[in-house]
Symmetry: C2
Subunit: 141 residues, 2 copies
């Protein structure tokens, strides 16, 4: 790898910080989680616990999957279930000190990747958009 | 730009061809469109007309926005409305002969970009994942 071709930028320089990231809580009913997703416009967001530790992610697909009945959508299911019952727990993670190249590899299979510290406290997210903007910058050096 | 840094790959080399792309039709009721999206797992897909010309895109966010009532979700709205009423028509487009660099610029603001020919016939889609995999390949040359 030539020095020019891969910046020494770190995750912390490229991430959206936690205060700007929409999220839901473990205990929220699915109907509330869906409302957060529809109003924010995001297809999936991080799930945090009450001490703001990262526990997983949840998206519209997983929520709507719960409503697939035999003949039609059964949206009433959503008020009976909670985020922790269907969220994705096995998620890739980065730390603030990880490199741009490490981050690029993780977003190949994931539209966004959560950033957390050693104790699991949520720091922010790395998005494909942030990585692609950095890729474009590097093409013109 | 050094020759090594930006391949001469074209959109046709990187795209998912039309036969592998889930899509909906202009006239589909929104409930059917949502079913296609939930079962395929995709958050948004292209919209084609009956002669397979590209007319726009539609996603779960736009569909679910129609169900936001004052106090709760009003999912019954979905059987009364059609794709053409809420789809996004003003979308970026690429052609098969466009370059990898042109494609990279378009996916900065869009998770996928539709590919169509001069007459508007749908050829496929370029995804962020395909672009990011190419970026990674180019880092190791
Ligand atoms: N309000 C908005 N304003 C401008 N553009 C918007 C937008 N909402 C979505 N987009 C565009 O659509 C892409 C896909 O969004 P999606 O919600 O599916 O997927 C998003 C979402 O799941 C998550 N995400 C992004 N920003 C977030 C935030 N502030 N809070 C929570 N989740 C976020 O990261 C994924 C990838 O985001 P990325 O930026 O790469 O890609 C975004 C961005 O290019
Ligand atoms: N069945 C599956 N198998 C493996 N991975 C999956 C998957 N469904 C989704 N993913 C992963 O999730 C990302 C976001 O998918 P999303 O449906 O929001 O956003 C997708 C979707 O809106 C559209 N798309 C991708 N493939 C499609 C297809 N065959 N037909 C229709 N639309 C497609 O392009 C967007 C970006 O796709 P991209 O591949 O960059 O990014 C995908 C991919 O990394």
């Amino acid at each position: 790898l030539q020095d020019k071709q891969a910046t020494n930028k770190q995750v912390v320089d490229l991430m959206i910080p936690s205060e700007k990231v929409a999220h839901v809580q473990l205990n929220n009913p699915l109907e509330h989680a869906l409302l957060v997703l529809v109003k924010s416009g995001y297809s999936a967001v991080p799930v945090l616990d009450t001490s703001y530790k990262l526990v997983g992610t949840i998206g519209k697909t997983a929520i709507l999957n719960q409503t697939l009945g035999l003949e039609r959508f059964e949206f009433e299911q959503l008020s009976d279930m909670r985020v922790h019952e269907i969220m994705k727990r096995d998620i890739p993670r980065l730390t603030k000190e990880d490199t741009y190249v490490q981050a690029l590899k993780t977003v190949i299979n994931s539209p966004f990747v959560c950033v957390a510290d050693q104790e699991g406290y949520f720091d922010g997210i790395i998005t494909r958009r942030a990585i692609l903007k950095q890729v474009r910058k590097e093409m013109y050096t």
